[in-house]
């Protein structure tokens, strides 16, 4: 049987009108909040703990336990924060939830507020998501109007206000301590933990930070019970996970599957297989913090522990499928380029180490690498992982390590043979005229921006390697397969 999607976090997306609270209410909306408010707050935490829900931002910490930590300290003020700073390139799970079902997040934040004893919540959202911001504003206003947020919620005496805070384009602000720094109007630089935000967070007060998708699961758990939720998934990873499936698969887009679904099921059953029926090469999970998994990992069940054991991680839900035409060394370099740009610069291992990793990769993709460089990549990666202050640095070498481990031959080929199998690294390829196919039409010559091609009409043409800038224009223009890439 083919694997099926199961929608919990995305249950209302595309089903209800996100700008009309009545639609949400008609779909069990705010029922969970009402039932929580009629009981003790400890019961709420107990239910979330028992459900086995874990943080969907990537780290996978138990949500109920996190709430318990924030509930414990006595304080005149506590905060609930929703992390909507979705910065992974190619991931848009949170945007879909916020745009399609904003009330599910608001309701869950209020439930969390009740559970930990907070009366104020903030959604830290990217300024690049204007539609999500607009819909959140509408949703907050409608919920306050209906007495479901604000003062004296549902006449129970519970107060809970939600406000928005905007990010300004910094990937590191997805890390919770950096996020709190940013909320306070500072540079988004992480601080060492402890103290954890649960004891000393926003404005020095106990603060609970959860990801959008985590919150999107909460009301469903309260309504259907912890046992229902924990019956879905694997032993340690319960429920479902939303992925942004992209790259070389036939069907791209957001998918939500039960934990324990295998990568093969996701790529072939749900994604419909590889585009153009090419050879599957790798699947990248976890964005710049994750790794590239290969054919031998296709039957790995998707859960927090299995993905880490395979050398990647769950991450927030980016899932990029790559085929035989992708160069894994170049992919590692692409992610490192991202990390180097997004490192906040506070701690040396991340700031300098990743730059050094990047320059070694650059050397390799340009054909100047040595075998020692491969050892150096591994050594340096270990230092960066061990010595960086926050998760950005601690996970930044993962794309490098996972590609070295799973595609070692590709690295060796770049270093020893000075060749790129996927023909992606421009310094390592050559365009050549296949004489028996060339009819001398001159299309390549006209397309060449560097005047590197010579030859008379109806004569065989020739590419001057000294002049060739390897732009590929000739290869594209030739209709007779007379330009080969070596």
């Amino acid at each position: 049987m083919k694997a099926q999607q199961l929608k919990i976090a995305l249950r209302n997306c595309g089903v209800i009108d996100p700008e009309d609270i009545q639609d949400y209410i008609a779909n069990e909306g705010y029922l969970a909040l009402a039932s929580c408010l009629s009981g003790p707050r400890e019961a709420v935490i107990e239910t979330i703990k028992k459900s086995g829900l874990r943080g969907r931002g990537g780290a996978g910490f138990s949500t109920g336990t996190k709430w318990e930590f924030a509930a414990k300290p006595e304080s005149d003020k506590k905060y609930v924060v929703c992390n909507a700073d979705e910065g992974d390139p190619g991931a848009f799970m949170d945007r879909a939830v916020l745009e399609g079902d904003p009330h599910s997040v608001l309701e869950a934040m209020a439930i969390c507020g009740y559970a930990i004893g907070a009366d104020e919540g903030y959604i830290y959202i990217r300024a690049e998501y204007p539609l999500a911001i607009k819909r959140l504003h509408i949703a907050i206003a409608q919920a306050e109007e209906a007495g479901l947020l604000g003062e004296n919620v549902m006449n129970t005496g519970f107060n809970f206000k939600i406000k928005l805070k905007y990010g300004a384009g910094a990937f590191v602000c997805g890390e919770e301590t950096a996020l709190i720094k940013s909320m306070e109007g500072n540079r988004g630089e992480p601080v060492s933990k402890p103290p954890f935000p649960a004891t000393k967070g926003y404005r020095g007060k106990p603060t609970n930070v959860n990801n959008v998708e985590t919150f999107a699961n909460v009301a469903a758990i309260i309504n259907r019970g912890a046992d229902w939720f924990s019956s879905i998934g694997t032993e340690k990873s319960k429920g479902t996970k939303v992925f942004a499936l992209a790259g070389k698969v036939k069907k791209v887009g957001l998918v939500e599957v039960p934990m324990g679904t295998t990568l093969r099921e996701l790529v072939y059953d749900i994604g419909g297989g590889i585009l153009g029926d090419k050879q599957f090469q790798a699947v990248q999970t976890g964005g710049p913090s994750g790794g590239c998994l290969t054919v031998k990992h296709l039957d790995t069940p998707i859960d927090y522990e299995s993905l880490v054991a395979a050398g990647s991680m769950m991450g927030s839900g980016g899932m990029i499928v790559m085929d035989e035409d992708d160069c894994m060394v170049a992919v590692a370099q692409f992610y490192l380029d991202f990390t180097v740009e997004e490192s906040c610069g506070k701690c040396v291992p991340c700031r300098e180490g990743n730059k050094a990793l990047y320059s070694i990769l650059n050397k390799i993709t340009h054909g100047h690498g040595t075998m020692q460089d491969l050892d150096r990549l591994k050594e340096l990666s270990a230092v960066i992982k061990g010595a960086s202050l926050c998760a950005l640095g601690q996970t930044a070498p993962n794309p490098v390590l996972s590609t070295i481990n799973n595609f070692y031959d590709d690295y060796v080929q770049h270093v020893v043979d000075k060749k790129c199998r996927a023909k992606k690294c421009r310094a390592l390829i050559q365009y050549r005229v296949v004489e028996e196919n060339c009819i001398g039409c001159g299309a390549c010559k006209r397309a060449c921006p560097a005047d590197a091609i010579t030859g008379e009409i109806k004569q065989k043409h020739f590419i001057d390697q000294e002049k060739c800038i390897k732009c590929g224009a000739c290869h594209q223009k030739c209709k007779f397969s007379a330009i080969a890439i070596d």
Binding site: K165, A168, G169, G185, N186, R187, R426, P449, C471, A473
Partner: protein, 159 residues
Amino acid sequence: MTCSVNQQMINEKIVEICSEFKNDPDELIAILHKAQGHFGFLPSEVQQAVADQLHIPVSKVFGVVTFYSYFTMEPKGKYPISICMGTACYVKGAEKVLHEFESKLKIKNGQTTTDGRFSLNTLRCIGACGLAPVVMIGEKVYGGVKPEDAGKIISEYPA
């Protein structure tokens, strides 16, 4: 850089924006968002005015402005030109397209023309790799752009 808006106008606007946020330094990022929305960019005069109004060092404001990629200290042109330098576009000659725009507009990547009409920037990927190389002017996307198209595209935008 010549300042097109005078200091007094800046101060008045910043006082207005800051008071909207109760002069709370915690709201610095929100204030900068609003100020950039109004002025189009955040020159040092604006940063100084914000610092004065919130009673925080201007170095802190500068630190925040330079940390976040959303904030810019360079004025954008009336028609901001963005050239995609994502992998797909790069391979298909985006660099040459950039050079052609640079020479036609007589500015470098990251700069704005003296008449304020055009600014030129590169970006990582706009997710339109099938159309590579891609150039965006404002919200409009141009696909399959060749270097020789630069002049024609520019002429679509009157002064």
